[in-house]
Amino acid sequence: MSNVLELRDLRVTYHTQGGGVPAVRGVDLTVGTGEVVGLAGESGCGKSTIAAAILRLLPAGTKTEGEILLNGEDVLKMSAAKLRAVRWAGASIIFQGAMHSLNPVRRVGEQIAEAIIVHGQANEREAKVRVGALLEQVGLPSRRIDDYPHELSGGQKQRVMIAMALACNPSLVIADEPTTALDVMVQAQVLKLLKELQRDLGLSMVFITHDLSVLVEVSDRLAIMYAGKIIEDGPAELVFHSATHPYTKALAAAFPEIGDMRFRGKPSGLGGDPPDPQNVPPGCPFHPRCAEVVEGVCDRIEPALWVSGANSHAACVHASGAPALEGMPR
């Protein structure tokens, strides 16, 4: 399987008045053709930064290092013209709160067509036909083409945003919290639509959300981030149901299974707060909050992604494939 996206040792540092803030601290991630990779973690863990970095949408002054190979080409080395061509046609993004990113004074059809025309994929008349087909594809009647955003509900606007993301037949779609602001029933409808489109069009996707229960439903593979690094990855169900990393376990426990008496009356949470990116704790960045911390080891050794099961890895001293570490009880 060839890879649509390959991140190699990606590092992103934001520039602020208080100095550099490392948001992504060395991430390797691959997305194969037709694969859906779910990226999860708390706010500030760097997941949305990765989404923006892939299309070089980060604010000026941000330092991005490493390689971002989109269909084998490094996005970080592209010329401005090449980048313009790749944005939307090579990879597109469905943003967080996308419903608010539609222009309120232009018809939704025009807004979708704009991307197609700008990329020279069709003239105005052809574009209109394509937009009609796209709307049908995302489950909206094609007569909605002449509607203004305020005439659509939240779920319908999100469908328009999905149509827009698909307009130029991108090889990669990045969905950043695409259902977060939607109502429960509408969220289920939109998730189902995304999953069907992914299957029918063979889309490759990076799906980003903090809601692990949503991710496990749509993803083939999960990557869990903490403090700018991936700390666990593997097949989605495996990571969700039998995580190795204590952080992943805590995240999964935040989404209880109804009917499971273990959760009844017993909300479980992590103590403490996510680390300050400018002051990440030494050793394992999670150790101050960890329930399974090994004194004298975790505060000293920063774990790498060690093998923890079939096709899965965890950056934790408890991973089955962790090397013998000094001070570790065995």
Partner: protein, 354 residues
């Protein structure tokens, strides 16, 4: 009906603290200036259309449903923040007064925790000022045992898990994390020694890993201070974790209410079933999903208000059971199911599960 055993110990409910009886809240329909001059009128929105429920002492009651179902409006009416168009709200057996002045002592007893702690804290006030504000508004200069304002604030902070309190009093909200901010919101509620906390989506803006802590705090307040908690949420997983009873609302009405174990494991209303079906879980992509948008409270359908979206009607099962005509034509109230829950569905009389 299937005979699966549901683990549900009979609820021991304390005395009622708040009783809501046949509550109705309408919002006036609005039209543009020109349409108004031409005599056009927009229909009123019946946000709450006949809700009755009781909150008992030391109980956690979850009010669940889609946006627009009237759950927040019901909560606001209980807070005394809006005047009902019909019906009554009783606090410890007494009807709520209507004048703002007379409502004051009641408002002290009922405190609210909102979704977004960042939005509900004044960014230019210190934590001390924020927690003391309620005391000052209510003219409380000392506690029942002669405590000073400082002592009351410190006690509220430590009850909310901000310990030691003196470490936090001089900080500003932006210096705290999301979870800590929500604790400050809860501390300012606790400063007034309330009987009831109304929490509107108290954790949906918080990071997944922090949620559990805030929920554990709410449960602790219930256990230690016997505070009754009304949690407004769309998240049934949250209801499963913390609530004693669940009330499911649809289009201005409670359509099912009962002990959490029963309602969430053997729902009797097709809408409750539908809400449970869309809780995300592994491999659940092919589950049934209700089509259409949340319904419009300005146009409430005749008959059972859920019938246009009801899977039991759409699948033809209602016709087979001979109740379709009643589903589309006969409005109905909550009725006992024979177990500890109540549901407003014609299937209940036939003792059928949705």
């Amino acid at each position: 009906m299937s005979e699966t055993q549901i683990e549900s110990k009979p609820l021991e409910l304390g005395p009622p603290v708040v009783e809501v009886r046949d509550l109705e809240v309408n919002f006036k329909g609005r039209v543009g200036l020109i349409a108004g001059l031409r005599g056009h009128k927009a229909p009123d929105a019946k946000a709450v259309d006949g809700v009755s429920l009781t909150l008992h002492e030391g109980e956690v009651l979850a009010l669940a449903g889609e946006s627009g179902c009237g759950k927040t409006t019901t909560a606001r009416a209980i807070m005394g923040l809006l005047t009902p168009d019909a019906g009554q709200i009783l606090f410890q057996g007494e009807p709520l007064p209507t004048s703002t002045r007379a409502l004051r002592p009641y408002r002290r007893q009922v405190q609210m925790v909102f979704q977004d702690p960042t939005g509900s804290l004044n960014p230019r006030s210190t934590i001390y000022e924020i927690v003391a504000e309620g005391l000052r508004i209510h003219g409380i200069t000392q506690g029942p045992n002669g405590e000073t304002e400082e002592q009351l604030v410190a006690r509220a902070l430590s009850r909310a898990g901000m310990r030691p309190p003196e470490r936090f009093v001089m900080l500003y909200p932006h210096e705290l994390s999301g979870g800590q901010r929500q604790r400050i919101v809860i501390a300012s509620a606790l400063a007034l020694d309330p009987k009831i906390i109304v929490a509107d989506e108290p954790v949906s803006n918080l990071d997944a890993s922090v949620r559990g802590e805030i929920l554990a705090l709410l449960l602790k307040l219930r256990d230690e201070l016997k505070i009754s908690i009304l949690i407004v949420t769309h998240d049934l997983g949250l209801a499963w974790t913390v609530s004693d009873r669940v009330a499911v609302m649809y289009l201005g009405r409670v359509v099912e209410i009962g002990p959490t174990e029963l309602v969430l494991q053997r729902p009797r209303h097709p809408y409750t079933r539908a809400l449970l079906d869309v809780v995300p879980e592994a491999g659940g992509v092919n589950r049934p999903i209700l089509q259409g948008e949340p319904p419009d409270p300005t146009r409430i359908p005749p008959g059972c208000r859920f019938h246009p979206r009801c899977p039991t009607v759409a699948s033809g099962r209602a016709r087979e059971l001979g109740i379709e005509g009643r589903c589309t034509g006969e409005d109905l109230q909550l009725s006992p199911t024979g177990e500890e829950n109540f549901a407003a569905c014609h299937l209940v009389e036939l003792n059928q599960l949705p």
